[in-house]
Amino acid sequence: MTIDQRICELVAQVSRVSPDQIQPNSDLYRDLGIDSLRTLELVATLETELGVAIPEIELLGLKTPRDIADKIAFFANIPAP
């Protein structure tokens, strides 16, 4: 599983949107209804499931699962997808 797919899976878990409806370039807010409160749930889920520490301020302004994957790659020091 690629990091893109894994992020989409975790975004699906938080947004309650079916994983097959989530694409790396889906809009978190407009397409998936992830508002600021649910962004925090998403940060918690990402940190727990992926074992990375992400300053939540870094996730503000990220628009898509792909953006998140890029940011996680940066913080986990792994190659971006």
């Binding site: 600021s36 925090l40 918690a44 939540e56």
Partner: protein
């Protein structure tokens, strides 16, 4: 016949310095965006009370501002809160000048019906549902009466309320939809306009509330609900029945309640399982001198010692608390602001709303301050924004109060503090996630 309903929505601040500071603070901007994009439940409810042969259009006031007047209609209905009253009157005047009759209703028109009448053909005083069919019928026959008043003796029975016509909305424009489960609040605080207008506290049967929520869920793939209540969990038995139904639906939601929501561990468990993401609680003050006699039975004064425990109980279950504090109450002094900041930071409130005491027209607070000679002016409705000062505080100067509010804005809503408070909530979510 075609009726155009225009919602006078939006968040306002008159003070330029506060406006300039506010837009630089993420915590302030975020809540402002949420509030300003809530649709008007009044319009959607009146649409549901409108006879089937009448076309009903719903618009936000920004639509009219951007695209101009829609004049191919037979009646314009406007609903406004106090800060937008003058904008509402200006819009009403424009419509009447092109020959379209106007009816004004809502909270402000109910508090100031004669004033609203000067800008309209008819005023709907009090709750709209009981009188709306009559207004439509009279408008159709071109014989609108100046005032339509719902009986104050027999308050509208919410069990007969129709499901609001959510399908009139372009849902992609909204980040939350509103559902009303109750009207009024038994606490009857001195400053509260809603308590005065809505009267006795009433709840909607759970089954009926769920019909409304299910209607929204059919229209919107990923709904977020905001309960348009003043105090949702007054009746704990109703609350538990409602929460059990919400738990079956997995829909995130937000509401407003008093601190007693945290009294009962079972209720907190049910809240957490129900999808409740945030409860807004009107703490009003942390000072006993400021809370004294704020409401009729001094309920909030008696509850002051429970604030910290209530915040911790709710937030540790993953339900964030948005704590509301009013500045400028009679017990407040220039020393109050630092103490309020410390309380908010110590309790790790995820969100806080700091507003200035506002004497809305015709409330007990308005009349008391007027009698004491403490109002700057008698009418100042565009300044009833909750952020603009309109009276002389008791124990400090107006400048001290305004500076204190700016101090709290900078201290509470800046990016660093905002991030710290969010981190606390993320850590709670991680603990809950791991435990699950």
């Amino acid at each position: 016949m075609t009726i155009l309903f225009i919602s006078m929505s939006g968040v306002r601040i008159v003070s330029q310095s506060l406006k300039e500071l506010g837009i630089t603070l993420p915590g302030f901007v975020e809540r402002g965006e949420v509030i300003s994009s809530l649709p008007s439940l009044a319009g959607l409810t009146l649409a549901a009370c409108t006879p089937g042969d009448v076309e009903f259009r719903y618009r936000e006031v920004d639509d009219i501002t951007q695209h101009g007047l829609e004049t191919d209609v037979d009646l314009v209905a406007l609903s406004t809160f106090t800060a937008m009253a003058y904008d509402c009157y200006a819009l009403a005047d424009r419509y009447r000048s092109v020959g379209t009759p106007v009816v004004i209703g809502g909270l402000h028109a109910t508090l100031m019906p004669q004033e609203a009448k000067a800008h309209s053909d008819a005023v709907c005083v009090g709750e709209g549902e009981p009188v709306w069919p009559r207004i439509v019928d009279d408008a159709r026959q071109r014989r609108l009466k100046p005032f339509y008043r719902a009986s104050t003796r027999y308050r509208y029975d919410l069990s007969t309320a129709p499901v609001p016509r959510y399908e009139l909305l372009d849902i992609s424009r909204y980040n939350r939809l509103t559902v009303q489960t109750s009207r009024g609040c038994p606490l009857d605080c001195e400053f509260c306009a809603a308590s005065k207008v809505l009267g006795r506290y009433r709840i909607k049967p759970v089954k009926q509330v769920m019909q409304e929520i299910d209607r929204i869920a059919r229209l919107w793939d990923h709904p977020f609900l905001e309960l348009a209540d003043d105090n949702t969990f007054v009746n704990k038995a109703w609350a538990k029945a409602f929460l059990k139904e919400m738990a079956k639906r997995d829909i995130p939601w937000f509401t407003e309640a008093d601190v007693s929501v945290a009294d009962d561990p079972e209720l907190i468990e049910l809240l957490a399982k129900s999808g409740c993401r945030q409860v807004l609680i009107g703490f009003e003050s942390i000072f006993s001198e400021s809370l004294d006699n704020l409401d009729r039975s001094n309920w909030k004064w008696k509850r002051r010692d429970q604030y910290r425990r209530a915040i911790d109980s709710l937030q540790s279950h993953g339900i964030s608390v948005n704590g509301c504090f009013i500045l400028g109450l009679d017990g407040d002094t220039p020393d109050s602001f630092e103490k309020i900041r410390d309380f908010i930071l110590e309790t790790n409130l995820l969100e806080s709303q700091v507003t200035v005491l506002t004497p809305f027209p015709n409330t007990r607070l308005y009349h008391r301050l007027k009698q004491e000679g403490r109002l700057f002016e008698e009418t100042f409705w565009d300044r009833c924004t909750l952020f603009d000062l309109n009276f002389y505080p008791k124990q400090m100067s107006p400048a001290e109060l305004e500076e204190g509010m700016m101090f709290l804005f900078r201290e509470l809503y800046n990016q660093q503090i905002y991030a710290r408070r969010r981190r606390h909530y993320v850590d709670i979510q991680k603990r809950l996630h791991t435990a699950a």
